[in-house]
Amino acid sequence: MTTTSPSGMPSGGPLEKSVTVEVPGSRRRLGGALEAYALPIAWVAIIIIFSFVKPETFAQWSNVSSILSSNAVLVVITLALIIPLTTGDFDLSVAAVAGLSAVTVAHLNVNVGWPLFASILAALAVAFLIGLINGGLIVLLGIESLIVTLGMSTIVTGVMLWVTDARTVTGVDQTLVDMVIRGRFLGIPYLFFYALVLTIIIWYVFQFTPLGQRMLVAGRNRDVARLAGMRVGLLRWGAMIAASLIAAIGGILIVGLSSSAGPSTGVDYLLPAFAAAFLGSTTIRPGRFNAWGTFIAVYFLVTGITALQLLGAKTFVQYLFYGTALILAVALSQHIKRRRLKQGF
């Protein structure tokens, strides 16, 4: 049966992509590895090229540190996205939830005067609630996740406008800033390491726990999962909650990054996060949304943009690069896959 499921990347039914019988042996591994590692390789290639072009700025540890930390929030929000994508649901509300959490922390801490820690807990609680409602509407009422989360993201945006009265809140407790961007390890703000740890956790859960495998199965075929005794509804529900919570972490990091939050905080992350999630699903574990793929996809895209900025390229060039890189990267891994399947290695 056809469900509106974002999983199972390669479009066309299995018969179309078809054409494979596995021939064991090293040649196959090689082809598979090439497919899985095309994006990382392209990434490294970009890095090397720009290092030669701009050795004095691009190839500096400080630049690396800047790239890694300034896009860590996008990594976190994209990670939030891939959890429901794995269980077969879209969550279009992650960016809005990140924004609302940021606003909640800032508002409670600054305007209401709560301690930082309590404000953060409150933001997480709000996000939990949103995830709970999203999941409930999807699982209990059986409403399309796309609609639920589109609606929810609109509502959340409204709430943000309401709470902030359309103003940016500044002056959040400096502890948060210290913990996010000012504190450094190896010269890289902590921020990056939060994203890294989250990547590792999600990689671990997806790859090395029965829970991750269950989520995958539930996302691909709910009936199979049900007949195998899995609590499909619970898995999907849990995924929606996890996505909201992780998005909230993203929002809290935004506050740490800028020590402020306003009515449009977060919203710009949605499309880049989708791009990165889907690009990431073509690499490392092709055909599955995966943590390292996400991580690499984000940094692949932003490395190029940063390099262009350093070269003084105009904004429109950045757009052209971004779109082209996205398509080319996927086309490349698709091409390798096809060739592999055809040649049977």
Partner: protein, 377 residues
């Protein structure tokens, strides 16, 4: 004549509705309402701006070889034009000028700030509001690295100087913008044009820092100087400008058919205001706005729907900003700079060029004036 409804916020429709039902035909006589002050103010605003030096002349020899790093907030022609002037002036003075173009995303501004600090720039110019409030830690980092940060065209002239202004904690200097002056001028233009009988819809962007104060200035001007004027205020968040401006204005015009002026606080909303008026077939409604974007001036030249615009002299702003930067780089005191506005309507819009050019039509008083302040040894 009915008194102006003095709604402070967007909760206005209730009162404007009352006004609409109570005063259908009680227009004041056209000549009675407009004070001479108002007319003089309009005439002054329509003339070429005159330069006032912000401070004493100073030696800019030390600027040679200094690294100036600019971060524009969005890729738009207004900031582009400011940026071009700054670059031109800076390079003429021997500075090394870098622009960090971006897609208006906070993460990119952060990356640009990092780049500036990492590459040991001598000064950072935040051009047109890469929102300093969203860059607090980065500005702090710049300060820690001994790099001064200047915020350009974000705060209003009436705002306090750093560090008291919003987002200014570690900011070295600001180059403010005449948002409120422009609002007052716009109100005056409307009062004069209507002969004191305007019913104005003011459309603000509540999430833009200076917007509420500008609206206050306007409503105050109407209240004080135009007994026969009424107004309604609505707010549209920036994110909705492209999609909701038209319907919001339409609804406001429907709710109060007596409205005959629409003033949108920023040019970006003109593209929604025009079809709103067209859709309703309201040929009697005049639209005004602020920024002086070439396209908005073209609208004035091409038709009657868009009637006026409060424009800003982008080279003037650029030179004012770079003057401030030079002062900082050469160890001089920062100054309180004022940049000019000019009202454009059918009578003078041709001076901006056909089609209008960014920064054209403001004369060269500012450019020449600033250049005269910069001496070399």
């Amino acid at each position: 004549s009915s008194s102006g409804s003095s709604s402070e916020s967007s909760a206005a429709p209730a009162s404007s509705e009352a006004a609409a039902s109570e005063a259908p035909a009680s227009e004041a006589p056209a000549d009675a309402a407009v004070s001479a002050d108002v007319i003089a103010n309009v005439e002054a605003a329509k003339a070429l701006p005159a330069f006032t030096a912000p401070g004493a002349a100073f030696d800019i020899t030390d600027v040679v070889g200094k690294k100036i790093f600019e971060i524009p907030s969005v890729p738009n022609p207004f900031l582009q034009s400011i940026s071009d002037s700054m670059k031109q002036a800076a390079e003429a003075a021997g500075a090394i000028y870098t622009v960090c173009d971006n897609q208006a995303e906070v993460s990119q501004w952060v990356a640009c700030m990092d780049q500036a600090v990492n590459s040991d720039q001598d000064i950072i110019l935040l051009n047109g509001a890469p929102d300093p409030r969203a860059l607090q830690p980065q500005i702090q980092a710049a300060k820690d690295a001994g790099i001064p940060v200047t915020v350009i065209h974000f705060h209003d002239d009436s705002n306090p100087a750093p560090p008291t202004c919003e987002g200014c904690e570690n900011v070295t200097a600001v180059v403010t913008a005449p948002f409120n002056v422009a609002g007052k001028a716009a109100a005056d233009w409307i009062i004069a044009d209507s002969g004191g009988t305007a019913n104005t819809l003011i459309v603000g962007g509540s999430d833009i820092l200076p917007s509420p104060a500008t609206i206050d200035t306007m409503t105050k001007e109407f209240d004080e100087n135009c007994a026969g004027c009424e107004y309604t205020v609505i707010n549209i968040p920036v994110a909705d400008w492209n999609t909701k401006t038209q319907t919001e204005i339409q609804a406001a015009l429907q709710a109060n058919p007596d409205i005959n002026y629409v003033y949108v606080l920023y040019d970006a909303m003109v593209a929604g205001a025009v079809p709103a008026v067209e859709t309703l077939g309201r040929t009697d409604v005049k639209i005004g706005s602020y920024n002086g974007s070439p396209f908005a001036l073209d609208f004035i030249a091409q038709g009657d729907t868009v009637a006026f615009n409060v424009g800003e002299d982008t080279p003037g702003i650029g030179y004012a900003a770079i003057d401030q930067a030079f002062r900082i780089l050469t160890g001089n005191e920062v100054v309180q700079t004022r940049t000019p506005i000019r009202i454009w309507d059918d009578t003078n819009v041709a001076e901006a060029g056909t089609p209008a050019q960014p920064g054209a039509g403001y004369g060269d008083a500012y450019v020449a004036g600033y250049q005269s302040l910069w001496t070399t040894s």
